[in-house]
Amino acid sequence: MNRIKKILVANRGEIAVRIIRTCKDLGIKTVAVFSETDRKSLHVRMADEAVSLAGLKSSETYLVIEKIIAAARLTGADAIHPGYGFLSENALFAEAATEAGITFIGPSADSIRKMGDKTTARKLLKGTKVPLAPGTEDSISDLSEAKRLASEIGYPVLIKASAGGGGKGMRIVHDPADFEKSMVSSQNEARNAFGDSRVYIEKYLENPRHIEFQILADQHGNTVHLFERECSIQRRHQKVIEEAPSSVLTPEMRQKMGEAAIEVAKISSYYGAGTVEFLVDKYLNFYFLEMNTRLQVEHPVTELITGLDLVREQIRIAEGELLGYEQKDLAIRGHAVECRVYAEDPSNNFLPDTGFVHLHRVPTGPGVRVDSGIVDGMEVSVHFDPMISKLVTWDSDRKGAISRMCRALEEYTLSGVQTTLPFCQFVMKHPVFQSGNFDTHFIQNYFKPEHIEIDDPELIKNLAVAGLNAIHWFIRENKTENSGSVVHDRQETVNLWKIRRK
């Protein structure tokens, strides 16, 4: 057994913090890496050591394999955890680590290649009992050839990045007239996100649900699934709200899909934690969508219903340990829901917002977990993903978990940027979401910006009275102190007239 002593976390934000926490639980030392804008970030503060990657943008920092390997060498780290995004599904990175004698906490470079490339994965699965949606065999760059194949498959079609994940580069095309524009923009986005502009085309399923299975496999051939996650609430093909278990799966379907997920893992000789994503149509037929060869953003809902720590399992597997349990030892306990808190304006088409976070106070109490990488005074910049934190709740049933989420969302204080918090409040209270019967079109079918507005006349009147008095208070305090900055009660600094920096 190869006991890991020091892990370099090749990531930033909430996931870097989350990985560091488990390392601390295991008594493993941690090394953070950071771009110049992240010097004050929580992951830098929490790690035992931190190394600057000397740059601003991700292409200069978190995406540079050489810089990260050098940081690991400098600090004597014997393992690297890639988190999600950035280099987490980059086979070259896994190889570079291995060549440097550093354990890569993830699957082999070979498995990443097989599954990370969506077209290779489809080819590998052809002929197995894992159901595939109709689509192109290979990635495609010739526009007219692509257009011809799209017509063959039949509109609507989906253009997807071969190297993709997280919805980046994905475009739905309903009308052949829009095909060219969509393909170009998909290629552009894919190039920016993954440094790889290859795309492929797949049949677009109408009203699908997105349901994925969490896989764990050790290096000795033992593979289990940790049940499913329902991820159908999406905007821009990116998940905003996830839950486990799904409210539509019967035990039989769960078993069938779980077995298919395990087959996908076995076919790619997979070890570590991975996720097999499926689309489920309205008749509850399921189709393989892709496999993510890394930890998933939404992994906490699985942790809450199984009691396992997935990062701990990843580390144990990387050390060569046996899983130590079989499928029959695993059971679902209760229900968990996750809301992603993005710096986006839900009343303005979910456009990302930027600026400084003035005040970040997270909810706590029974059944609430927050994974966050942000603290007061930190900037949400254009350089990185606008996800601020993840709010997760658990209860013994779905209704309870949703109730706790409503409470936690209301308690969550984040000031300085617009966030998806009011949108998540809308979803939790929506009868269609509460019924469990919804698909990936939930947002376009049920959400309008005006839905997140409050319409209680007594509340509105009282807020007006309170707001006016507060403004009066500022004016009065500013007069007496004759300064832009008002110090109250010798404890707090209050300043209305400070323009929010954006």
Binding site: L351, P352, E410, P457, K461, A464, A470, I471, H472, R500
Partner: protein, 164 residues
């Protein structure tokens, strides 16, 4: 001091008779207001408890309550006159300046000067935060001016073009 407070399409006549004593549309409202951290306050009106934030951005005031943001327009009598005049002015305005909603790179311009656009039509694609974001026209009209070119970096709130 007499104020007109506009919030969520409601217009309230508020008269601050003393500190923490307000008259709302003629009837008296007493309020227990204490400042908390940052720009947050706790207010008790009757027995009802509210925690809210007040902030100002580009000259406009906002109130945030349980993650909901309300624009808050507070005008005293002099302001009302000025605002009324502006309103008259505004009604004769039929153009819209399209501003960058975030800093980014202009990846494509989908209209040309002199072209006609519909309300809601995508007129420009702005690449920011690793995504391509569609910028749409808030009104129908003619593109009277384009102030940026493709591949140009723009700051947040900088004017991209004018419609009308």
């Amino acid at each position: 001091m007499k104020y007109l407070v506009k919030i969520k399409d409601e217009e309230l006549d508020l008269h601050v008779t003393g500190f923490l004593e307000t008259t709302l549309n003629g009837s008296r409202q007493s309020i227990d207001l204490v400042p908390l951290d940052a720009n947050r306050f706790s207010a008790l009106i009757g027995t009802k408890s509210y925690v809210f934030e007040i902030y100002q951005q580009n000259g406009d005031k906002f109130l945030v309550y349980k993650n909901h943001t309300f624009p808050l327009i507070v005008e005293d009598e002099r302001d009302r006159l000025v605002s009324h005049m502006k309103q008259v002015n505004k009604e004769t305005q039929t153009f819209a300046d399209i501003k960058a909603p975030m800093p980014g790179l202009v990846s494509r311009i989908l209209v040309t000067e002199g072209g006609v656009v519909q309300k809601g039509q995508t007129i420009l694609v702005l690449e920011a935060m690793k995504m391509e974001n569609d910028v749409k026209s808030p009104i129908a009209g003619v593109v009277s001016m384009i102030k940026v070119t493709e591949k140009q970096n723009v700051e947040k709130n900088s004017i991209l073009m004018r419609i009308g």
